[in-house]
């Protein structure tokens, strides 16, 4: 196709395709294949254990994290989190969280049952529940009933959303903004007010994205927008991002959490609030 005498471009093509390979295989999300019966059974078991832990704690609302993507190359374990609370009418536990519509830059605010939350092509069927301070719990519930939780939502999704960006948002940034709205009892529901409070205390994680991946992701993925970050950041390739780990750190720093448990390999164990990687075997 490229004609003769074009050895170097072909080499480049091969190089790029090879570069694309780990990108293509690292993720566990956006998979079209149906979940197997065994996967569904495993998800059901996880949901049951999480529910048991929530019932045992007898708290109205908690943070619930899962391991969707394998983020080990960034030194991260839990990749996604939402808030789980008991539905008033059914009495069932429901997870409120922000999800990205696969392959697009659109986000949606979703409420799911525990089974649905864990029924996906997740890297691991591990969960972390963080129980929050009673005052924070009550204010979080208030943000749902008065609509502030929805007002914080920004439909334009960016997996690498810059902390404080008003243009885009990702699931973890949304969760952090929700927690902070409740922490400071911010009545406006405006994201700018949240980040004004957060500026001095919150420390995001730095995610390094290699140059080759930046090029490919910039071309191929609509849910990655590097231009949300400064030129200096883009040249460095180290992107500040709100991660589950940074949220856990913040909760610990601000003493907003009372305890936490990790559910892994069928066992539930108390762990430090800020611990991202469980030591359970």
């Amino acid at each position: 196709m490229l004609g003769r005498g074009l050895g170097w471009p072909w080499a480049l093509v091969v190089w790029f395709v090879l570069l694309a390979a780990p990108i293509a295989h690292a993720g566990q999300q956006c998979v079209d294949t149906p979940l197997s019966a065994r996967q569904l059974s495993t998800s059901a078991a996880t949901a049951e254990r999480v529910e048991a832990a929530l019932e045992a704690a007898d708290r109205p609302i908690a943070l619930l994290a899962r391991v969707g993507n394998d983020l080990s190359e960034h030194g991260l374990y839990f990749s996604h989190a939402g808030l789980v609370l008991q539905d008033h009418t059914s009495g069932r536990w429901r997870v409120w969280h922000l999800l990205n519509r696969c392959g697009t830059d659109e986000a949606g605010l979703h409420v799911e049952g525990l089974f649905d939350y864990f029924a996906g092509h997740l890297t691991r069927q591990d969960a972390k529940i963080v129980f929050l301070e009673p005052k924070l719990e009550q204010e979080l519930l208030a943000t749902i009933s008065d609509g502030r939780a929805e007002k914080l939502f920004q439909p334009r999704y960016n997996v690498l959303a810059r902390p404080g960006s008003m243009r885009t948002q990702n699931s973890t940034a949304y969760l952090l903004e929700w927690l902070v709205t409740a922490e400071f009892a911010l009545k406006s529901g405006r994201r700018t007010d949240v980040w004004r409070e957060l500026a001095s205390e919150f420390v995001p994680d730095q995610i390094h994205v290699a140059w080759g991946k930046r090029v490919l992701a910039g071309m191929a993925r609509q849910n990655v927008d590097f231009t949300d970050h400064s030129v200096a950041t883009r040249l460095r390739g180290d992107y500040p991002v709100v991660t589950v780990r940074s949220i856990l750190r913040y909760l610990q720093l601000r003493q907003l959490a009372t305890s936490s448990v990790v559910i892994r390999n069928g066992r539930t164990q108390a762990v430090p609030v800020a611990q991202d990687r469980p030591a359970l075997r």
Binding site: V13, L35, S41, E48, N100, V242
Partner: protein
């Protein structure tokens, strides 16, 4: 050196992104690509096009904020999960058989029938399982208890998961915004 390289690349793929944002849906506009290649001379643009195709093939990669709606929307909906009709009969101890197997692109549809009844349900399974079951029409389906429900098992293959009442109570999906 990397910085200079990144800058020029950045300008280029920003331009590509801007164009992509204007495209309807997620379809790669092959005609647009061809037009661009023909309009700009040289193999370099063809190379860019090839790189673009290669990059377009790259799917989700490790990212700090996992959050993918397709996982819960598509996977459960199109998965080997039985709930209505047959699910109730599983609870009641009804005998199940393979009714029909239809092979599609990438997946197969297996009709599960309740012996002596008109109740049917269709399960979507990976195409490999579909191929393996094409000769198993009429075969009896084994029902194995498993965490959260029952596994329907036939000819060495897990066909479907039938959630029990507890799991059903944990099933819910709603988009608020």
């Amino acid at each position: 050196m990397q910085a200079a390289g990144s800058g020029s690349w950045h300008l280029w793929f920003c331009a590509v992104r801007r164009r992509r944002r204007n495209w309807p849906e997620r379809v790669v506009p092959s005609n647009l690509r061809l037009t661009r290649i023909q309009g700009v001379q040289g193999n370099v643009m063809r190379l860019f096009a090839l790189l673009f195709i290669a990059a377009s093939c790259a799917r989700a990669h490790a990212s700090p904020g996992d959050a993918s709606a397709a996982v819960s929307e598509a996977s459960i909906g199109g998965s080997s999960l039985l709930l209505e009709g047959v699910g109730d009969l599983v609870v009641g101890g009804g005998e199940l058989v393979i009714g029909a197997v239809k092979i599609g692109a990438g997946t197969a549809s297996v009709t599960v029938a309740v012996a002596g009844s008109a109740t049917l349900a269709v399960v979507v399974v990976p195409v490999e399982i579909g191929h393996a079951l094409t000769d198993a029409v009429g075969a009896s389906i084994e029902q194995l208890p498993c965490p959260g429900g029952t596994l329907l098992h036939v000819d060495g293959h897990d066909l479907a998961f039938v959630p029990d009442a507890g799991t059903r109570s944990r099933m819910y999906a709603e988009r608020v915004q």
